[in-house]
Symmetry: C2
Subunit: 196 residues, 2 copies
Amino acid sequence: MHTERFRGQMDFLKEIEKLKIIYRQNGVVDRSRPENSAEHSWHIALMAIILEEYVVLKNIDILRVIKMLLIHDIVEIDAGDTFLYDTEGNIGKSQKEEQAARRIFGLLPEKQRIEFLELWREFESGTTPDAIYASCLDGLQPLVNRLMTGGYVFRGEELKTSQVLEKKKFMEKASPFLWDYAKDVIKESKDKGLYT
Amino acid sequence: MHTERFRGQMDFLKEIEKLKIIYRQNGVVDRSRPENSAEHSWHIALMAIILEEYVVLKNIDILRVIKMLLIHDIVEIDAGDTFLYDTEGNIGKSQKEEQAARRIFGLLPEKQRIEFLELWREFESGTTPDAIYASCLDGLQPLVNRLMTGGYVFRGEELKTSQVLEKKKFMEKASPFLWDYAKDVIKESKDKGLYT
């Protein structure tokens, strides 16, 4: 009864169960475990809806931004979560992720496969207004989370404030307002000893 | 510098961190822990995007459906996750959830507070096309997850197939096609001993 098309769609929806066990550097609020990439994606999709008024870019399509954020980390199922500040771990990352995107979105029927692949590549390129806004939220959420969870750190690296500021300053392109807030969060985190 | 309006929005976005530690009955795919309501919400938002073609209802607004699904469980931060089949636990549930909705969405500025409260109440009422489709996915995902994770059960209740069919048959209103699939999943789960 079920078509090949539907089987592909369900194969994809079953495959992405695995994103719930891809763990990140930050923790959940009771510090019982690291945050995973699925719940992180949920969180920033809601951020996109609530904080849209602070974006200075024109022609934001909020549905596209949400879709981007819901799928932006799915490639980690194959490629793993690479810590933003891990220079070595980031070598060869984009090639691994491109392969992962082709395999995982490749489970979907053609039109959806193309839509998702293109949305994901657009997010990665970070050059369109929607992608710039999406990346800004992906940059902001871990800063706030880290301050809230008191620097639960999975692998235990120490981070320098200057490194964090350097890696996050791209946020200003989407929203000088949110970037100002992010700098306050970074400063407060530094004062609490969460960055050196 | 930051306005009261922005503080309210960030208070809300910080508050909902807690949804990541509200645990459900089903498990994650490696059976290492129960699934939480934040990652569950992420999963069904993506289901909404991918499975829209199977809905028989007219005038589905996919952005509204996604918003509903992203926020539908937020009330559990105060009211807890009540197991669908727990008759006693479900007494007084809607009153507790209404209070929770007022408190948590009440952190937001007025227009967003009203939008989210109304979307959440619409989802709960299950009477509009968007809410009927959203509920259908909220009904489907745990069935598929249970079959995939081999019946990881948090509290250990036994479920009868007849109970499951009874509780899920509302899905047919949104999509006879998805309901047929759900029945296949339930049958396969029963054959594997996941329902009695």
